[in-house]
């Protein structure tokens, strides 16, 4: 039997079975395909990390510091060891020789201070929640019980919660070296000239409150070893980067370490990290030789998943009286928290290139100081630096409009890069390859009914309606698709920005795609299948996408910063093209034609002008049988590709928000929200829309609901979902979303990236709307989150006499709409008082 069953027979059997798939010329790219991922997700057959059960598995629980800052003088684990089910108890000291420092891979300046960051504290704790000891036990309840028996003596040290305070002389020190991590500067043009004798200067300070990313899936880690090799399952966005970093941190050789990111329940940047628990999971399994699991509780997560934002932004705009911007100056304090984690210092730096927004200007100046405080470190959170930048410029441009009495949309029109001016090199040195701000804005205004809402606003102001209507706009662009590697290198980023893919056709004509991106909800399996189906002419269902396992997807830079499609999707496309080139050679050979005479259509290679051809599936089977291949042709129809783009991509859009603010209760209710985004060409409109929705929700959450609060001692007050208010369905409106499509020129698909757009745009749109509602009360800022209490207080503090506008008849017509040229028409309301904001010159 065995000698008869040669490859040819298998090939014949395949060819005769109905397994050999057929080509197709259905267009998949651009189609609203329902997602492949959904099947397992809606039926509960998902592999979350916490679902993984291995024989003999033990559970780890961490004892965490109740104090923000203290010296550890004694840790006694002896009593805990005797508790039922306890297998081992470790303190930081027990791992002192073994645990390397948690890595920081983005040293933004040469003299940056990167403090040692042990996964478990050894001598000192620097934020509440830092791990001090851990228990390993036979079940999770027993592990948690035994924590109580560990005795730790702390010698309290003073906490430093506020950045400004941290920088003052005599402040308690978070680290020996002081509380300043770095100062990073960046400039373009002559900023002094721009501000010298500027007719108008807007100077504002905004608080980017600290946020907790709050992915719905808590972090989880499973580590196991067979004595030789190690496997780590983790709810991570970055299995590939993690593997390298863990090898360096634990000393486990990289080739003996496999990292698997199974299904991951959300990330938003919070799982772009190398965490203490991942390192310790490996160290513990190495010591005990048993598989171990740790799953975070939500309250543990709020304390110890890296936080986002937390910046104090001073922004100044120098402008002409007609609203044209001369220059922008930004001075930023960025709260690093107690340590620098994987890309902590780089987050505000990413934003540095975006404070100019979509506007032309002559000069720009940016300074960022990274500050240590005794709080959980900050790091990437959806948008990472760009939401902060966009917020500051879009708020400040609104202030400029208000100061000058020009409609906020008109001010934007006067400054933005026009469609004809692309590609345009900004004052920050980025080249925006394509964009059309006019088109997106016009579409958004029409959908929103801008003029009608302005009329209603005027009416409510006239009537002094206690419920005022506010209209907020934000126009934005962002940089997506991190790469290019060269540019990342010049910013001292510790890794490249390329992405990898392998595409392999199986003997039956089915296709496996391996991608270095590591999805956690973005629908890569579907979108990548669409790209493959179109490029190779195979049915969508014949493609499967493998990811998130370093022993399968051996190369990759993972998923963050809206880079997956823009970089990873293009790598998939390029690998498909290589497969096709190879198939074309074989087709030429089999059809006895020259490769130049072979044309590819609908999944079939045909000799031009003749009826003869071979489907790509037949060719895949032929390379498997390999009976008749051209000389030197390697069996198999597969190829690898690595793509490193030569520019970022720049999605943009216009978001508009109408909000009703009850000035008597402080309550805000979003009445309508319109978003027109331009994310370039679209592979799957369904997925794009979903991403925009989710992004908007997270941005609104920053504007209205969320804040991680520490008290002055450094205790966190928002450890549960009851205290940290993630919006529910009843807190949010239905969003109206639409698109314009201006393809990117920096990649062959013309795609730009969409993951963060909504979050970047929505926060300033909402806050601009709230401030707009309250303008007549003399209000020109409300600190985020704009909770009812804060809004009410702001109005109350403005006082009885505050009602400043519209003060007299006739002024209510002041808004002339975005199209009118009559810019200087009077908005006479509160501007007069605010005129004192102009200070001109330097500061």
């Amino acid at each position: 039997m065995s000698e008869q069953l040669d490859a040819g027979m298998i090939a014949e059997q395949i060819a005769e079975s109905d397994q050999l798939s057929r080509p197709t010329d259905a267009r998949e790219i651009g189609r609203a395909r329902r997602r492949k991922e959904d099947a397992r997700l809606v039926t509960g057959r998902t592999t979350w990390t916490d679902n993984i059960q291995l024989p003999g598995m033990l559970y780890v629980a961490f004892l965490r510091s109740p104090m923000a800052h203290a010296r550890i003088t004694r840790v006694d684990t002896s009593a805990a060891r005797t508790r039922p089910g306890v297998v081992a108890v470790y303190s930081g000291q027990d791992f002192a020789d073994e645990q390397g420092s948690l890595p920081c891979a983005w040293p933004v300046t040469e003299d940056i201070v990167i403090p040692d960051h042990p996964p478990m504290a050894v001598n000192e704790v620097r934020y509440a929640g830092e791990a001090v000891a851990c228990v390993v036990a036979t079940d999770r309840y027993k592990a948690a019980d035994a924590l109580e028996a560990i005795e730790v003596d702390y010698e309290p040290l003073e906490a430093v919660v506020d950045m400004t305070e941290a920088l003052t002389e005599g402040s308690p020190k978070v680290h020996e070296s002081g509380n300043k991590a770095f100062t990073w500067k960046f400039a373009g043009g002559d900023i002094d000239a721009a501000f010298r004798d500027a007719p108008v200067v807007i100077d504002r300070t905004y608080v980017q409150q600290r946020l907790i990313p709050s992915a719905m899936e808590p972090r989880a880690v499973v580590a196991t070893t067979d004595g030789e090799t190690f496997t780590l399952y983790s709810a991570t966005q970055i299995p590939h980067v993690l593997r390298v970093m863990l090898a360096l941190t634990t000393g486990i050789p990289e080739h003996r370490l496999r990292v698997i990111a199974p299904d991951v329940g959300g990330g938003f940047g919070s799982k772009l990290q190398v965490t203490a628990e991942e390192v310790l999971g490996l160290l513990i399994t190495r010591r005990l030789g048993k598989p171990v699991k740790w799953t975070e509780s939500r309250s543990e997560g709020n304390l110890t998943v890296h936080h986002g934002r937390d910046q104090l932004q001073r922004i100044s705009i120098a402008a002409e009286r007609d609203g044209r911007i001369r220059g922008v100056r930004v001075d930023l304090l960025a709260d690093m928290g107690a340590y620098l984690m994987l890309v902590t210092p780089g987050i505000p730096i990413l934003g540095a290139f975006m404070y100019n927004g979509i506007y032309k200007m002559d000069a720009y100046d940016f300074t960022c100081t990274g500050v240590f405080t005794t709080k959980m470190p900050t790091d990437a959170y959806r948008g990472a630096g760009r939401p902060e930048a966009t917020f500051a410029i879009e708020r400040a441009v609104d202030e400029l409009a208000h100061e000058l009495g020009i409609d906020p949309i008109e001010v934007r029109r006067r400054n933005w890069i026009t469609h004809e001016e692309f590609p345009y090199t900004t004052i920050c040195g980025l080249t925006y390859d394509s964009g059309n701000y006019e088109a997106a804005t016009d579409k958004a205004l029409a959908l929103f009914g801008y003029d009608k809402l302005r009329a209603e606003q005027a009416d409510r102001r006239d009537r002094r309606d206690p419920v005022q209507l506010g209209i907020g706009v934000s126009t934005f662009t962002e940089m997506c698709g991190l790469a290019p590697s060269r540019v990342l290198g010049s910013l001292s980023y510790g890794a490249g920005g390329w992405e990898h893919s392998s595409v392999r056709m199986l003997p039956t004509g089915k296709v496996e795609v391996i991608t270095g991106t590591s999805p956690h909800g973005q629908g890569h399996e579907t979108a990548w299948s669409q790209i493959v189906a179109d490029t190779l002419g195979v049915p969508f269902d014949d493609v499967s996408v493998l990811h998130g396992d370093t022993s399968i997807s051996h190369k990759g830079m993972d998923t963050y910063g809206s880079r997956s499609l823009v970089v990873g999707g293009i790598a998939v496309l390029q690998a498909c093209e290589k497969v096709k080139d190879k198939a074309r050679q074989l087709a030429a050979h089999m059809l006895e034609a020259s490769a130049d005479d072979i044309e590819f259509a609908g999944g079939s290679f045909n000799v031009r002008g003749t009826g003869s051809g071979k489907t790509i599936q037949e060719l895949a089977l032929a390379t498997f049988a390999a009976h008749d291949l051209p000389d030197g042709f390697e069996p198999g129809l597969d190829a690898d590709a690595t793509f490193d783009p030569d520019n970022f991509s720049f999605p943009h859009g216009t978001h508009l928000c109408a909000i009703e603010v009850d000035t008597e209760t402080g309550e805000s209710k979003i009445r309508s929200y319109v978003a027109v985004d331009d994310v370039g060409s679209v592979v799957n409109p369904l997925i794009v829309e979903g991403q925009v929705h989710g992004g908007i929700a997270q941005g609104i959450a920053q504007a209205l609901f969320e804040e991680a609060v520490y008290d002055s001692e450094g205790n966190m007050l928002t450890t549960t979902m009851a205290d940290y208010l993630i919006p529910s369905a009843s807190d949010l409106p239905d969003f109206t979303t639409d698109r314009t499509e201006t393809p990117a020129t920096s990649n062959p698909l013309g795609v730009k990236g969409v993951g963060e757009a909504g979050t970047i745009a929505s926060t300033p749109a909402v806050v601009n709307a709230i401030v707009d509602a309250l303008r007549p009360y003399g209000v020109h800022d409300v600190r985020m989150p704009c909770t009812p209490e804060r809004v009410w207080r702001t109005v109350a503090e403005a006082g009885e006499t505050a009602w400043a506008g519209p003060p007299s008849a006739g002024d209510t017509t002041a808004w002339v709409g975005p199209t009118a040229a009559g810019d200087t028409t009077a908005w006479v309301g509160p501007t007069a008082a605010e005129g004192t904001e102009s200070e001109g010159g330097d500061r």
């Binding site: 959904d38 809606v42 916490d50 808590p218 956690h520 929705h693 979902m721 529910s728």
Partner: protein, 169 residues
């Protein structure tokens, strides 16, 4: 240790449980029903929602002993063989999930809210899902899915009634 009898997705189990064991841990760690995930420890997120005797509950807020003698349906017991429940289908059709972590709980809560109102308005759905948090979708598509699922469920039950009324030959 108390012994309980519990039926989960049609199979009856007898289990010795510690009095403090949470239903969600019994389901996940002991019975292998990992389709129900955990998102918080305060009963706020709804990820762990299952049906307990026909009513949706947050299984992180129920002790296993409290579920003695009861009938639990999880997301894994919702489909009939390979045929998805209309609500599962509707979530797929409307792209009402991204990472999918909240999805099992959302679907269970959605089905339960239709007991009171088989044809809910957008507002009713939004209020009805208040206890279930999603961090990915912004809820627009979830709301659409629930309303679509509701329509399909009423059609299905109408169909089933019609079927029952057809006299067998």
């Amino acid at each position: 240790m108390p012994r309980i009898t519990i039926t989960v997705d049609g199979i009856t189990y007898q289990e010795d449980v510690e009095p403090r064991l949470l239903l969600v841990h019994l389901l996940r760690d002991r019975l292998g029903k990992t389709g129900t995930p955990i998102g918080c420890d305060t009963g706020n997120c709804g990820a762990c929602t299952v049906m307990l005797d026909g009513v949706s509950v947050k299984s992180c807020s129920v002790l296993a002993v409290q579920s003695d003698e009861s009938d639990v349906v999880t997301i894994e017991g919702l489909a009939r063989g390979n045929e998805w429940h209309p609500m599962q289908k509707a979530f797929h059709e409307e792209h009402a999930l991204q990472c999918g972590y909240c999805t099992p709980g959302m679907i269970m809560a959605a089905i339960d809210l239709l007991r009171d109102d088989p044809d809910p308005s957008e507002e009713t759905v939004r209020e009805g899902l208040e206890g279930n948090l999603c961090r990915c979708t912004g809820y627009c598509n979830i709301v659409r899915a629930v309303r679509r699922g509701a329509r399909e469920m009423s059609q299905r039950s109408a169909g089933e009634r019609a079927e029952q009324e057809v006299p067998t030959p």
